[in-house]
């Protein structure tokens, strides 16, 4: 099959003063694409063609190519990770597109995700949020028996649903307000249902929300676009969990 690609090309990293840094959409035609190729393999073929022609290849992030690391991710025709639900870009295949399709490929767009080059963005803001409180503190001793603290099955499942987050940032990219609340909600919800996480629940909720706000993400308006594109299909329930945990923490604050 043949595809026509429109890809965002940008040489220099974005800065706060110049977020656009002279980037532009560039048109490429690519023939002999196999429907069985993954989306990233299709980009690999494009890059080989570009290198043969002596042109600069298209930079994009990727690592495991198994849908579990969260490194890959581009906005395809306006939808992060493309048209298939619950799928990362690396697990998307060209059979999801029609022969001769025009495909627009752009980087995640958010102030908190400055473009490094072409389709690569700096998602350090998500790491800084995690560092502010998305963990439990275990300072000493050996781990106790796994079943020493009984956890209701429904709680374990809620926590696990949130824990499947791979931190790809698609929720931010999809949100009309570039809000990171599905991501932060997943971190809050991941720990809030577990006894090990409840010890630090107040400070965690406060610190995560503070870190999120400082990174310049937008605010959730409950449009649920994030839920639709999340490759791990994390529900917006985690955002309600975060709101509740934050209100509880503020109510208990001295």
């Amino acid at each position: 099959m043949k595809v026509i690609l429109h890809i965002w090309r940008q040489d220099k990293a974005s800065t706060n003063d110049n977020f656009k840094q002279d980037g532009r959409m560039v048109r490429y035609e690519l023939a002999d694409v196999s429907p069985d190729m993954s989306f990233l393999e299709m980009l690999d073929v494009l890059n080989e063609n570009l290198i043969e022609k002596g042109e600069e290849s298209v930079a994009f992030d990727h690592d495991c190519r198994e849908g579990i690391c969260g490194a890959c991710g581009v906005v395809i025709d306006g939808v992060p990770h493309g048209p298939e639900r619950g799928t990362t870009t690396c697990q998307l295949h060209m059979r999801s597109f029609k022969d001769g399709a025009e495909i627009y490929i752009e980087p995640w767009r958010a102030k908190a995700f400055p473009v490094v080059r072409d389709l690569v963005v700096d998602r350090g803001s998500l790491d800084r949020i995690v560092q502010s409180g998305a963990f439990i503190s275990v300072n000493t001793g050996a781990p106790q028996d796994a079943n020493a603290i009984p956890i209701p099955k429904s709680d374990a499942e809620r926590a696990f649903d949130a824990a499947t987050c791979i931190g790809c940032g698609a929720c931010v990219a999809a949100c009309k307000n570039a809000s990171a609340m599905l991501f932060v909600g997943a971190k809050v919800s991941h720990f809030a249902y577990l006894p090990q996480g409840r010890v630090e629940r107040d400070s965690r909720a406060r610190n995560l929300v503070k870190a999120m706000d400082e990174e310049g993400f937008g605010n959730c308006t409950n449009q649920n676009e994030c839920e639709a594109v999340c490759p791990k299909e994390i529900p917006v329930r985690v955002i309600a969990d975060m709101n509740r945990e934050y209100l509880r923490a503020k109510a208990r604050e001295g």
Partner: protein, 229 residues
């Protein structure tokens, strides 16, 4: 004060402010409709209600000032959050797309600002008598200055006014249909089974409120209410 200011400045604090003030304004819209539906029960009924409201005296002013404060807070916070949201995405997508967000949820700022314009017009019309002052004069003309029946039935017998009022109810419907369900989510109410129900209820309640208001304007325009009574 640092507790309050850190809450107020936080993203979730802003959202909760929207939800709580929204809930209060929703309460007002419900009582406003219930009060005004007495128009259908005849001249004495609605005018008696208007007199009762006015006879509250200082309490009426407490409610008016409180309502204004809540309203200003709602609009102010909406503008603050919207500006932050706009700043959060400095470069737009070349090919934007929407997967599942509803039209109502995407147009909250627009529907909200349209309602602001409508409410200002509505107050200038029926409360202050600045626009179409002849209607407001009718209210003061007899029955001790509380003849809202004649004022409203005369105003809505002008098709352009009745249709304008009715049209804004569509905007109110859009705003409430997303707003009511959004309030629950923002204050942390989410349930696998009940959240879809909240969405349905949100839609239906918005429909009833907007429909009730529309009924008042259109029934007068069509001559079902008013005239020689």
């Amino acid at each position: 004060m640092s507790w309050l200011s850190s809450f107020w400045r936080s993203s979730i604090g802003g959202k909760v402010t929207m939800a709580v003030t929204g809930l209060m304004l929703f309460g007002f819209v419900v009582s406003h409709l219930l009060g005004n539906l007495q128009l259908l029960q005849g001249k004495d009924k609605i005018n008696g209600y208007a007199k009762w409201l006015h006879d509250l005296g200082p309490m009426l002013w407490v409610m008016r000032i409180g309502l204004l404060a809540i309203f200003v807070l709602h609009v102010w916070t909406a503008l603050r959050l919207s500006r932050a949201n706009k700043n959060a995405r400095p470069v737009a997508y070349a090919k934007p797309s929407t997967v599942q967000a509803t039209m109502a949820s995407r147009s909250m700022l627009l529907s909200g600002l349209s309602l602001l314009v409508f409410i200002i017009y509505h107050l200038l019309h029926f409360t202050l008598g600045v626009v179409s002052a002849e209607h407001h004069d009718l209210k003061l003309a007899d029955a001790g200055g509380h003849d809202v029946y004649t004022m409203v039935t005369t105003a809505f017998s002008v098709p352009a006014i009745a249709i304008a009022y009715a049209a804004f109810q569509v905007v109110l419907f859009l705003h409430l249909s997303h707003g009511i369900q959004s309030m629950a989510q923002t204050i942390g109410l989410h349930h696998a089974r009940y959240s879809p129900m909240i969405k349905t209820v949100s839609f239906l309640v918005a429909l009833v409120i907007a429909g009730g208001n529309m009924l008042l304007a259109l029934s007068v325009m069509l001559g079902l209410v008013g005239g020689a009574q």
